[in-house]
Symmetry: D2
Subunit: 373 residues, 4 copies
């Protein structure tokens, strides 16, 4: 049986990451047909040709609409800049393709809503690239919570921090423009919300403080320009079931490179996780013998499905790109009509709404309920 | 020259801790006269006698007012339950004694205000037992911030967590009664505020969410009783200079035993600290060579004054009780009219006000400014 | 230009790992032609077909000699059980193929010597799969040592520990038979020697103690059988230049899953590494300011070549399988006649000799010099 | 009842540490009579007076023999430089005093043997200051091993490293003279042997390699002088019951400040400890549920006797000086004829013999059995 036909739009880093996933998913899992890498689109025709050769795609085009009209293409990876997501995803769905779109959905809530509506009507699979939930460690944490391993959860803290905006002398960039979005809320809060959703469901109410570490930044041409959005956000949340939570994101946090730290406290124990050490988690069991209770650092291994499909020995580490292979496997399951775990456009829209509610809360200095949509 | 005459009221754990401090301060520092342990008060006369012998005090009494009238007593340690602080501290100050009072100041804001007013008028030294600021590591962090080692601070997160209220099956205790205070705010937020004050000054505005992990708890006699205060608090803060901060405290956080975690981000680096590993801190310098930048874990040593007065070699660890000896040394400096670093009644009152503002914020679901007093 | 033609013999875990590397090397690096996956050999014909489909190979065979006679095959990956390495590698070299052979070289020193001699005469590239040296972190450590970042190295400790033999109730397996080799020396010491070689050169003299934690193990059929080799080895070494070192390996070390811990001390600092956290290393610089000296934990990032070819952001983690892609890139460089870094058959033979010298040292209870070969 | 009468000879750092212990032991434990600080000896009469006032001793002398003839003195702390230990300890025992002597016993094996013989004949208590075994965490580890919590131990690694000799530009000091001893063996190996003894019994056979990181060092006056002993030692050991072990000590290990790292592997789990984080240990239990097995980091607390005598709450840290208070409590138990745990002169002599055997092993390049004595 022939494998699914893949189209890829965009060949920047996330495009490469999708290409690796499509190339590896059959080798890793062995239980899906090897996808056929059919068509690749990149704005520049020469680059498109080069990337197709590197990534192993059969055809290349500089016109993404041509890719969408290719009948051999069953599913389309969209990895272009955010402002193109809506147009491309909607066109792909309307052309009858399944869609795998990088996050965030779109640059406006209205666009995200149109994407979600189109996907709903299309009957096609449409999922977002929230790959952190695919980490075997994160999936195992979800299983532990479902089992009640730490009892009823009553408090959650989540932090996501990097430092690419930390240097006050770095020149003003589009990332600091209002047009690019709220700042840390768009870049990071969406990721943390995907993790919270996966474990606890969506946020129900939010209370936000935003922080702007640097009022302005130097222009390359001389002079300075005022920063128009916020590199930091601190949010009080109420999750489903009344769990109280705090969400903190900061893209100007010196020293943090890829931190996504979770602290989950329950009535029988606690679980900790940090994405900078994505191959481990910590668990504290109140039922362990007094005198030997402590956070156990558990290294990822075959018990944490599907780690074993990558490496048979525990403690040998998966990498960031491997998570995308797992996401790809979930996408194929969805297309095959099987149970899957991924952020589809409906859940993705809810995440977008949460982010907008956070921004509104800051503007109005009050708690804001997140519309259930 | 004879050393200062010491009276100690209360001989529970904090009383013992004060006794150790008074016993050790001269041996450790060598630059103060050895205090004379004059008089000890404990409610039960027999216990008072026994403790005086154990702790090395010359006289014992079951009547604390008798101790206050002892002319040999120059300074009084007050380590009794919180509800007695106001009466004893005010009486001691009025008797012309210096006062070293355990935190929190009092069980009502009005009492704290009377204590502060009395201290101000008395001309005596009156300090609170906020010993975490005395950790040589914490003092060094302050020096680093003052020097600008991590540039201008723009974001702070502080957490204080323990798990003595984490077990939902633990019987209802007075700690869960409204009369004992707000809960985690009184127990823990005051400590974290003392640390923030020491490094950045007082909180200016607060926005609070409180959490109650367990609605009720079992009674020893059978049945259940509703919990009346909150084991968890999450607070958005604005510190002096507009620094945005988050304060999180939880006395029901399984696995945490004595955690006070600080994350401080600045324009040139970052500093981390965790009280559970009180003999180290971490610093990230953006000026280190690219490729070798990372958080350096610095072990406490003689460079971190006054560590060297306790142990001459680095990496050999001070303990919790040692911090009280340093606090005692600061108290003696204050009495001698020298510069000192400790939370006096004036700063202590401001901390109490911050806590009350936090509670008000939760009740009114809005940002509350902290009165400067 | 057509990419190199690849043959793969063996499709167990390491076969899969090679397949992933051949599939990904062009996508990741973009500067090599995409290899053509030509021929795959697996003992069972049906399995060979299935794996070829999964892994993306064009042809499949149950006869590895058929693969060697395929003129489209330029390079052969040998990932079969150890006892087949010698025969296959020699035949492949004699057929004019380049060879990429998993470690260890062979089950006897004589075989390893024949392999090395054949490779030398063949003019083909023949490298071993010692992939840990390819970790960008490890490569960066090498650069740091070369630069003198920690001065002259004077002491090294290396540990490699896992726990797959730790359970005394696990049934007797071929791993405990004398025929399978010395035990921990073959399984682990070779890996640590590849790391030491990469950083410091080969061992010159060794003094060994071996440990047998369990004298016998249960047989599946009942009864017990004596363990014939050693799960533990502790070795004193002298490295080139007289550096004193200790090598400790243990495949019965409960709790260790993939630990390869290096401690390197020099005249200006120290470097630490642990494979269980393969995306970080620690460096201590004696030149940092007093009071802020400590081991800095550096997260892997684009400064550590070739990390950036996998992920553009630091702190996002590579995985075990990614190291094989880097090794593949080095192999292609070697074939192209460019500088490369990998363990070729000549260095591999020296590693084998070191292991045999270690075993001899234990048997004769004395220091043994390692023949330079 | 009057407390025991204490004499203290030597008031450097260890003298201060003993003074603190004598001052605190009754306050901390409450179950021993408060010792009377009777007599203090220090070479300089003025300094003796000053220290007596600081430390709380009633009398001071510049002649230690005068202290020994004071009938009020029941027990003598000897904290002078090593070369005086033998003469003072023997004189004290002959004067009918109990003795608490800092380690190492003496600068020659013959002296140590005379000390041990004198102690044995005297009927007095004579113990050495090996305080690391008194850490509540270490005592708990011993209990765990006795209970079989990790099964039968089959492998041990112990490291002790500091960096006070790491700087090659530091001037030549007496520590590098042959007269001061073997170097790291005397400074550090004795400590690690005390820990091993406490947990497993004495070493039975040793095989040693010594390392000299710097052949010579600069003289203050100009020129250089050859280093006469070894800053590094690596030792293969066989402990009682055939446990294989490795002991590594290095006083020139940059970055290490007070590291004493233990790794203990058994048939049911493993235990880790590091003195730089003396308030925690790690335990791995093979019986934990698969998927959640990992090293649990246990923070010291009241379950680890006698931590609770210092602080009632877990996770609040003891310090180095606190260990001496526990040792003092053991000494008082010994004097009272009760069970105690400390290194007496008999065990201390065995430790000295082990060290000499290590040196002999290096000189003769062979395994050496340690005489049982």
């Amino acid at each position: 049986m022939a494998g699914i036909g893949v189209g890829l739009i965009g060949t920047g880093y996330m495009g490469k990451c999708h290409a690796l996933a499509w190339n590896n998913v059959a080798t890793i899992f062995g239980d899906v047909e090897r996808p056929r890498l059919v068509h690749l689109a990149e704005r520049d025709a020469g680059l498109a040709q080069a990337r197709a050769r590197e990534f192993g795609f059969a055809r290349a085009t500089s016109d993404w609409r041509e890719l969408l009209s290719d009948p051999d293409v069953d599913v389309v990876s969209i990895t272009t800049p955010n402002q193109f997501h809506a147009e491309m995803a909607i066109a792909a769905l309307q052309a009858g393709k399944h869609v795998w779109c990088e996050k965030p959905m779109a640059t406006s809530l209205a666009d995200a809503e149109r994407m979600e509506a189109t996907a709903r009507r299309s009957g096609r699979v449409a999922i977002m690239g929230y790959n952190y939930i695919q980490n075997p460690v994160m999936r195992h944490i979800r299983t532990l919570l479902d089992e009640g391993a730490i009892g009823t959860v009553n408090q959650v803290r989540v932090e996501m921090d990097e430092d690419f905006m930390a240097d006050p002398q770095a020149p003003f960039s589009p990332r600091s423009e209002k047009a690019s979005g709220y700042g840390a809320l768009d870049d990071f809060a969406v990721h943390t919300l995907s993790l919270l959703w996966n474990l606890f469901g969506h946020a129900e109410a939010v209370m936000t403080d935003l922080g702007k570490p640097y009022a302005d930044r130097p222009l390359e041409a001389g002079g300075r320009r005022a920063v128009e959005n916020h590199d930091q956000a601190n949010v009080l949340l109420r999750l489903a079931g009344g769990i109280s939570a705090v969400l903190m994101v900061n893209r100007a946090a010196f020293g943090r490179k890829g931190r996504i730290a979770l602290q989950i406290f329950g009535s029988k124990g606690a679980i900790l996780y940090d994405q900078e050490r994505m191959n481990e988690f910590q668990i504290y069991r109140a039922t362990d013998r007094a005198g030997e209770q402590g956070f156990a650092t558990v290294l990822a291994g075959p018990q944490h499905s599907p780690y074993g499909s990558f490496v048979p020995a525990p403690g040998h580490s998966l990498g960031f790109n491997d998570l995308k292979v797992i996401e790809c496997r979930e996408l194929l399951a969805a297309i095959a009509g099987k149970p899957y775990r991924a952020v589809d456009f409906s859940e993705g829209l809810r995440i977008e709404r949460s982010v907008h509610a956070m921004a509104q809360s800051f503007a109005e200095r009050r708690w804001v309920d997140v519309a259930a949509g």
